[in-house]
Symmetry: C2
Subunit: 326 residues, 2 copies
């Protein structure tokens, strides 16, 4: 019987980077997190990546000799095939960082490189909400809306490393849709990111005629209005907050419908902070997908919430490393 190989998955974010050893069966060792401090520059960043990987190996009770390959996930803009971070908004002032080759040289190990949202999707596909599925689409709801598309063992990276940029699916026409951070109008991200949800809440409150605790909260805690506050109020029966959540589910369902009409996946996974709201929110998205998708796939596609939380990225990075060995 062949020994089970060990991989290190590293997920680099704008604030922290997180790594753990994951073995070939998907068993995850304790993870470690270090601060990214991108402002210290990319050489310091590469050193921190190396240190995070070393600490993850130690946390697993292993040595580097036990590691078969390494996977690194980073936020875009990037050239996935070249293993290169190009100009990522969340890692300023890094530019043109040959992450894959530097980590490969540092450890003398085969090293895989992937977009962080794609890696999170691949992680959920391997050991999370998408396990066993033939194909999977994942939407990650945070400050923005990220995405990833997986077919079997293949991450749909895209020819220009922009596969699964699902936050920029347009759900309204560009001449009248909401303005997105990318500069275009009508992108899903401008409707359904956590930032967009609070923005819509402020607008909704301004015209809301009935009673709502949202206004009271907002008057008392202007700066602290978060998507979580809105979802909690909606769960407690506040009509105005419920309207905002209903609209969010509707917009997300329209995004899901666009992926159904393109790749017709077996399962669509939603992850990120908002999905902490739980089953009642999933049910709303699910109902809108059935209502607005093409009937045949729309009746059969499974709509689920992510299971791996913030571990999905490094687990998916490890899955990319594992692929190098097959």
């Amino acid at each position: 019987m062949a020994a089970v190989l060990n991989f290190v998955g590293l997920d680099v974010g704008g604030t922290t980077m997180k790594a753990a050893v994951v073995d070939g069966n998907g068993t995850v060792s304790p993870s470690v997190s270090l601060r990214t401090n991108p402002e210290r520059g990319q050489e310091a960043g590469l050193e921190t990546m190396g240190e995070t990987i070393r600490q993850a190996v130690a946390a697993a009770g292993l040595t580097l000799a036990d590691i078969a390959a390494i996977g690194v996930a980073t936020p875009g803009l990037m050239d996935i095939r070249a293993g290169l971070i190009l100009d990522p908004p969340n890692l300023k002032p890094w530019k043109n960082v040959p992450v894959r080759d530097r980590i490969a040289a540092l450890f003398g190990k085969p090293t895989a490189f992937q977009n962080d949202a794609n890696a999170a999707a691949f992680g959920e596909k391997w050991t999370g909400a998408g396990r066993g599925a033939q194909s999977m689409v994942m939407f990650t709801l945070g400050t923005g809306v990220g995405g990833g598309i997986i077919f079997g063992d293949t991450v749909i990276e895209g020819t220009h490393s922009h596969g699964g940029e699902l936050g920029h699916l347009r759900i309204d026409l560009p001449d009248r849709g909401r303005l997105c951070g990318c500069g275009a109008r009508g992108c899903l991200e401008a409707y359904a990111s956590a930032t967009a949800v609070t923005r819509r809440a402020r607008e909704e409150m301004a015209s809301w005629r009935g009673p709502t605790k949202l206004k009271e909260f907002y008057a008392a805690n202007d700066d602290e209005l978060t998507a979580k506050v809105i979802f909690d109020l909606a769960a407690s029966g506040d009509d105005c907050a419920a309207k905002i959540v209903d609209d969010t589910a509707y917009y997300l369902a329209l995004g899901a419908c666009a992926t159904i009409a393109t790749v017709d996946p077996e399962v669509i996974v939603f992850g990120g902070g908002m999905t902490d709201a739980g089953e009642w929110f999933r049910t709303k998205i699910d109902a809108d997908v059935r209502r607005y998708a093409l009937p045949f796939p729309g009746n059969s596609v499974r709509i689920v919430f992510a299971e791996l939380g913030s571990d999905a990225g490094f687990i998916g990075a490890a899955a990319c490393a594992k692929l190098l060995m097959t």
Copy 2:
């Protein structure tokens, strides 16, 4: 040197079915067409399929012994993996026809089965406008808007046989978009099919204030207003017709943008009658894609017109047959 294998590709449409022998290098022998006559029932239809295949083999100067495998493409609704036509609107009253197994049994040959729009995309990918590309998306503009997505040698069939249903990408919100034949609102097909173009033309004329030959044509030839008439008038400088063509390019570009945000292809191919308009129409779509797509992939993706015309379907069906032999 291994001999080049021969395949038969058969493309079954609502009006005619068309087949030819295509060899492993993509060289196409003379094609044959027979009337489908779906109203005669599916047993008669299966017989006609067999006859079309036999005539195609003869037209190539070959015998059945020279044929390695057969590929059949049909319109939906279907179960691609099961090789089954389910309930196709264009082939009434056919229902639950096990096309793949019946053709395989009839000829004793490995037989592939594919959706007709997917097959057309695969044909263009093999020997047409998408040859050499790593990934390709194709929109087919006809009475409806069909689509296909190809990654390498893989047709994105979808888990529920609805991969590449690009005519049902929604470009406007479902509560205010144009009504589509599928019953939903806002689908691309409701804006950019040949039928939709003539419908928009009638609306545009009704409110058009300047001079336009379109009104004159329409008054004289009510029933004969076609997308071709509109495109020809636009090419000759008619402002009203030009507005309709501009809008068509805009809607098609929005469809293209949705495929960029999902699968980020190397090339996007438009095919079907409207693309006979030629380069000036392609240039309009191209400009709108650059304007409305995510900048990085939007600047690099190639927008091209199909090259194989109505042969794309049987060539792609033959390509599916070829895949069975690898």
